[in-house]
Structures are given as structure tokens and as C-alpha cells.
Symmetry: C2
């Protein structure tokens, strides 16, 4: 082979790859690692990783995995799991055919498949800011433009008025994406809000992507309403779902895409065939978890998260200058803090602060926006730790806020 000198600069990756944003949830992890190295305990409120044990039924199934050849599964997911999913949705009064359910590698892949399937390159999906940060990455991969509409912490991040929504719909708009209960805000949308989205979807020939990963995580006696429950919208709804949070099996990577539109599921299946199959071992164990009666696992877990929500909300409400609202669902909230720049504050908490050998890590809020400049004073809190740890973390946060040099009030 002819010898040539390698250029001193690296060959250039694609512009879109170079432009990918770093995850606000994970990009400050090196600072957290450094804090731990110097002996500081870090309460991780930056990532939605619950401290709750996976169901015994799931772990037991893993130990009993019966196959000797860990072979490819079906591209649409193992039949036992899809049947368990159908039964699961039936508990919410949602009557689905097996063919409406396509198993995916986590909710992440369901989002990727949904974005590609409803919108072409350069077409738009309306999202509500702040939104789940990884929508940005999936939209980049498939070349779809996210069109963000602002929501406001002062109103608990509920939807903007109808005219704002209607004005945002243009010739390139193909879908409205709604995460309900919402990550990162914890907002649970009302029946009127769902009806508004549905009405606009019908009037303007749009799909609705409903990210319902946190379906059960609803507090204060509120009911979660699935987009799948709106009969007029049946062929326009694409639900993205995941078992990660519901059964605390985030690492198993098992989720699904649900739609009564056969063209949507058919296209998603072709994408699924390209990647062959979702991970089969996790699917095997997941079927066992999905078959558990809610009283055995999910219900007591939700009760625990409601208590956690209370610990965090009550602590935040005592912190001067913090714009705290009481979230009704999921296990996140995104308050506004009296700081110059939330990322600088979150970094400072890891590099320059500790209280009795501990600190708390949040996720800077601007990463949950695509509009430049928004969310700079916000940070996402994932209340995924036990109440005692959360109380400690809140004490750290309060003390950190008191001492942070970039405080603005």
C-alpha cells in the first residue's frame, strides 16, 4: 500500500453529526465522577433511573431463560410479550389487536420509528417545550424538524391556547407529539387538552405521537387518559411506550410502538426487520413482569413515587426564589431557579459545593428546549431516590442555592 502522511486534523464527520447536542442528562457525569473520586456522595437527580428493585418475577425469569441458542426473535417482538402487552392495555380499557403492537428496543427506538414513519425529511413535528431532550437526537437522525411551542412553569407547563397551536401548524407539519405524563415537567394533561390536540389533528390531517411511558405515574387521584382511548383519532395515534420505568428495568431495553393504523405498524415493522429483532432475553423476562397484577408491583411503587414527589415539592416550596409548581405525574419536575445559568449552577454543585460530604446533581434545563436561550434558569429534577435520600439531596440543593455566587435575586 502506498505510504502517505496522515493529515494532522481528523477527517471531518458529517455536519449533522458534529452538531448533535450532548445529553443534558449525561454530559456533566465526568464532574460527578470527579466529585465521587474526592469522596463526595452525589445524589443523582439528573437521570430517570429509579432506585427501586426490578420485579422478582423479571429477575427469576432471567435465571430460568430456557433457550440454548440465543437466536434472533421476531422483528415485531416475541408473541408471548405482545400477548402480555395486549392484556396490559386491556386493563386500561384499551382494546388492541396483536398486530397493533410492535415491540421495540426501549421506548427510544419506538420514538425513532414513529418520527421516521409519520414525517419525511425536512417535515415538522410540533412539540411542547420543555420536551424530553432525546427527541432532539431522534429528530436529527431522521432529518425531521421539531417545531417547539412554549409552555410555562408558572402554569404548570400546560398546553398553550388553541390559537397558538393552530397558528403553529403549517404545510410541513405532520404530527403533534405529546408526552403524557410529561418528561421533564411532570404535567398530566386534561381531557380538554387531549381533545384539543385530537381536534386539530383531525382538522389538519396530522398524526399524534403520544409518548405514554409514564402512564401509571399519576398522583393526587388524577386519571391518566391515553390517546388510544379517543375513538375518532384511532388511525392517527402512534403511542410510544416502554417498560423501563414501570418495572424499573431501564437496562433491559424493552418498549413498544402501538398504532391502529396498519400502514404505520407496517412501516415500523420494516424498520424493525432492518435491525432484525429487539433483545430477546429482556423480552422473555418482561412478559413475566407485564403479567403481574398491578397490586403486586406497580401500585405500591406509584404510591412511593407520590410520597417522593411530596418530599421534593415541599422542600422546593420552601426555597426562596425557586418557582416550584406541584407536578401531577411522571417522576420529574422542572423548576425555575434564581441563578444566572442553571448549567453553571449544576456544575458548581459538583465542583465547588458539598454539605456534610454530599451534593445533588440535576440536569440543566436548556437541553430540554430546542429554542436557543430558553430554559437557562431551569433544571430537571428526577425524584427517583428514596425519601430519606431525597430529603438529604433537597437540603444540599437549598444550601447550594444559598451559597451559589451566581444567584440572581
Amino acid at each position: 500500500m502506498p505510504r502517505k502522511t496522515v493529515a494532522p486534523t481528523l477527517p471531518a464527520i458529517s455536519a449533522r453529526a458534529a452538531a448533535l447536542p450532548a445529553s443534558p442528562i449525561r454530559k456533566l457525569v465526568p464532574l460527578a465522577d470527579a466529585a465521587k473520586e474526592r469522596g463526595c456522595r452525589v445524589y443523582h437527580l439528573n437521570i430517570g433511573q429509579p432506585d427501586i428493585a426490578s420485579p422478582e418475577a423479571f429477575l427469576k425469569a432471567l435465571g430460568e431463560y430456557p433457550e440454548r441458542v440465543v437466536a434472533y426473535g421476531r422483528s415485531d417482538g416475541e408473541l408471548a410479550l405482545r400477548r402480555a402487552y395486549r392484556t396490559y392495555y386491556g386493563r386500561f380499557g384499551l382494546d388492541l389487536a396483536l398486530d397493533d403492537i410492535l415491540v421495540t428496543t426501549g421506548g427510544s427506538e419506538a420514538l425513532l420509528f414513529a418520527f421516521f414513519t409519520v414525517a419525511g425529511a425536512g417535515e415538522e413535528i410540533i412539540v411542547f417545550e420543555p420536551f424530553y431532550t432525546n427527541y432532539n437526537g431522534f429528530a436529527s437522525v431522521v432529518g425531521v424538524t421539531l417545531k417547539p411551542l412554549a409552555t410555562d412553569p408558572a402554569t404548570g407547563y400546560h398546553l398553550p391556547p388553541r390559537e397558538v397551536l393552530e397558528n403553529a401548524i403549517g404545510p410541513k407539519t405532520r404530527a403533534i407529539a405529546l408526552c403524557n405524563p410529561n418528561n421533564p415537567t411532570g404535567t398530566v394533561y386534561t381531557a380538554e387538552e387531549l381533545a384539543l390536540v385530537a381536534e386539530l389533528a383531525l382538522a389538519h390531517d396530522l398524526f399524534v405521537i403520544a409518548d405514554e411511558v409514564y402512564r401509571e405515574f399519576v398522583y393526587d387521584g388524577l386519571a391518566h387518559l391515553s390517546m388510544l382511548g379517543l375513538p375518532d383519532l384511532a388511525s392517527r395515534v402512534v403511542v410510544t411506550d416502554s417498560l423501563s420505568k414501570r418495572f424499573s428495568v431501564c437496562g433491559a431495553r424493552v418498549g413498544c410502538l402501538v398504532s391502529r393504523n396498519a400502514d404505520v405498524v407496517g412501516a415500523a415493522l420494516k424498520l424493525g426487520q432492518a435491525r432484525l429483532s429487539p433483545p430477546v432475553i429482556g423480552q422473555y423476562a418482561a412478559a413475566a413482569a407485564l403479567e403481574l397484577p398491578p397490586s403486586e408491583y406497580v401500585d405500591p411503587m406509584i404510591a412511593a413515587f407520590e410520597r417522593r414527589r411530596n418530599v421534593v415539592y415541599e422542600a422546593l416550596a420552601q426555597m426562596p426564589g425557586v418557582l416550584a409548581y406541584k407536578p401531577s405525574g411522571a417522576f420529574y419536575m422542572q423548576p425555575e431557579f434564581p441563578v444566572d445559568d442553571a448549567e453553571a449552577f449544576v456544575s458548581w454543585m459538583l465542583t465547588d459545593f458539598e454539605l456534610d460530604g454530599a451534593t445533588a446533581m440535576l440536569a440543566p434545563g436548556d437541553g430540554f428546549y430546542s429554542t436557543p436561550g430558553r430554559g437557562k434558569q431551569e433544571a430537571r429534577i428526577a425524584y427517583v431516590l428514596n425519601e430519606e435520600d431525597l430529603a438529604h439531596a433537597m437540603t444540599c440543593l437549598a444550601e447550594g442555592l444559598r451559597n451559589y455566587p451566581g444567584r440572581t435575586d
Copy 2:
């Protein structure tokens, strides 16, 4: 919510989603299912799913999975697995840093990440036809154009001459993708062929995507040469890899992307952060498999595949009108058959043929091309069954060919 009548036609999915090709490997599965329903045994040579048991070490590790919370893993993969990978590559004389290795959800995801990272939307990657069919799907997802260069069964599908390659490189070309050993042809490229690709990549500022999933599957005493072994090319090579075939753990979905270009791995890591982590349970077990000495699992398996290759090749060589070449690697070959249309023939074998209660299923060849009209007389054979089953399958194939009404010679 206002009631409206749902339109009788389904809301339209994106044009690109509607245009996705069905997998040639899986689209005729319903015909195979129907054949089985009527009691016919189907030898599956259509899919690269080996019948070989996964390593005992892998299965044992599954049963001993130690975590009580199946939590998200690292976005770049579990450290134990990445260390095991580094040791594994070291056995081939490939000295890598841990940060050069990013664990992916199968080789599939590594390909998706590689395509997105080296090429922008509308830019081109040169591939050699026939190519691994799922490149089509991944290219669609990220909006990259595959630019196919023909290779020929009569020459064992080796690379076209330099001038053909050089003429294909245009202003939008960002990479050359080479699968070595090749799926679907079984071709193992020579040192001269690799040097040619490397030279052109350097001269024209291109990346080389080297799909080396079948690295060990090389026969007749030939040596596999990794693109990672070409020092001048270091910053231009992106290897996509998978444990699926090497350890017969296709369903675990564990692979990796390897590059010494930190920008490539950095961008892939951001994509990885968006999807959070690869499946952790499979990764845990995979580390145990990767640590096995080759003599304990891989070497005897490769010897078995060489014997299987011989069974298939010798049988094909006896079939009149079949253009058979002897593949040197992977576990596929793509012969040309004396039939009007290979998909019609493969279908006919499932619907209208059986010999002593059995038939053989191949994958129609045209799905491994993106040039319309090419590959119509070819079919891919995956010799993934034991020798006895393969011999039966070849008898079915020979008899089917003799009786097929669309025979052309």
C-alpha cells in the same frame, strides 16, 4: 370532543416510510409458516441464524446476573465488556484504546451510527452489490444514498477494477463501505483489495466503513485482514462489529463500533446517549463469552462452518445451470440459478414443492441490490444448519430446480 367521521383511507405515512423495502430475508416467512402448517419441514437457509448453541459461559452468566435493579448502563457500553473487547481485538494484533470502542445494540445499530456520522443527508456511501440488504434500511433512516458498484458471481464477487471505483467517487461521496468477509457473497477480500480501498480513501478524503462481523469466518487457510490493521488509514476507518454470529447470540443484540477517530466515536456516543444504553443483560453475559479462549468455542465452530460450506458448495457444483463459486468466508453464498425469477422460485419451493415432506427456503437475491433489475436470478444461501440438514436441504433444492416450471435453460 367534536365528532367527525374518520376518513375511509388511513392517514398517509411519510413517502420514505411507504417506500421502505421489505426484507428479502423475512418477507416470505408467511409462506414458510403456511408450509409448516401443512406439515412440511422447512430448512431455513434464508436467515443467518446458526443452529449452534450459545457458549455455556454466556448462558451461565445469564443465570448469575447479579443486579437487583436492571438499571441503564453506560451509553458507550459496560466497562467490563469494553475491556473484554480490547483484549479480543488484541488477539488479532489490533491495539485499541478503550475509548475507541463503543458498544452498540447489535451490529445493526453500529451501522446506523456509522452511516449518520460519516455522511450528511443526501451524501453518498459507495457499496458493492450485492450487499447486506439491511444497509438499505439504515441508509433510508438517515437519508444517505447508497451508490452501488457491481460485482460478479463469475469472479467470486471480488472488487471491480480501480478505474471503476475511482470513477464512482463524486463530490457527494463520503465513504466506501466494505463487508469483509462479505454477506451475502462469502467473499474474503485480498490485501491488494484492501490497499486499493485505503488508497482511494486517502486520495479522496473518504471514510471506510468496514463491516467485520464475520472476522473469524474464513476458510481454506486464508487470513482475514482487518481495516483496523492499516496504519495510514487509522483516522478514516469505522468498524462495525457484532457478537451475534461469533458466539451464536443473535438475539442478545450486542455489537460495537470501533474507530480511532475521536470525532467519530464522540458523535456516535451522542447518538448512544439519545438511546440511553445498549441492553445491559446481554452485555453482562457477552463479556464472559468474549473472554473465552478461541480454542474453546470459536475455532471448533469455524471448522464446522467450513465443513458446512463444503457440503453446500459441492452440492451446488453438481446442479446443472447453477453458477456456483466457492466462498471463502462468512456463512453465505449467493449463487446464480437457472430460473426466470429467484423470488418466484423461492416462493414456489414453499408453496408448490416438497420432497419427502421437506423443502428449503432461500432469500431472493434482488433484495441484496439497490440497482433495479439486478440479482433476479440469484438467491442467498445461509449455510447455518448442521451437515445432515444441509445435505437434505441441498437435495430438496436440486430436485426443486429440476421441477420448477420457470426454469430458463
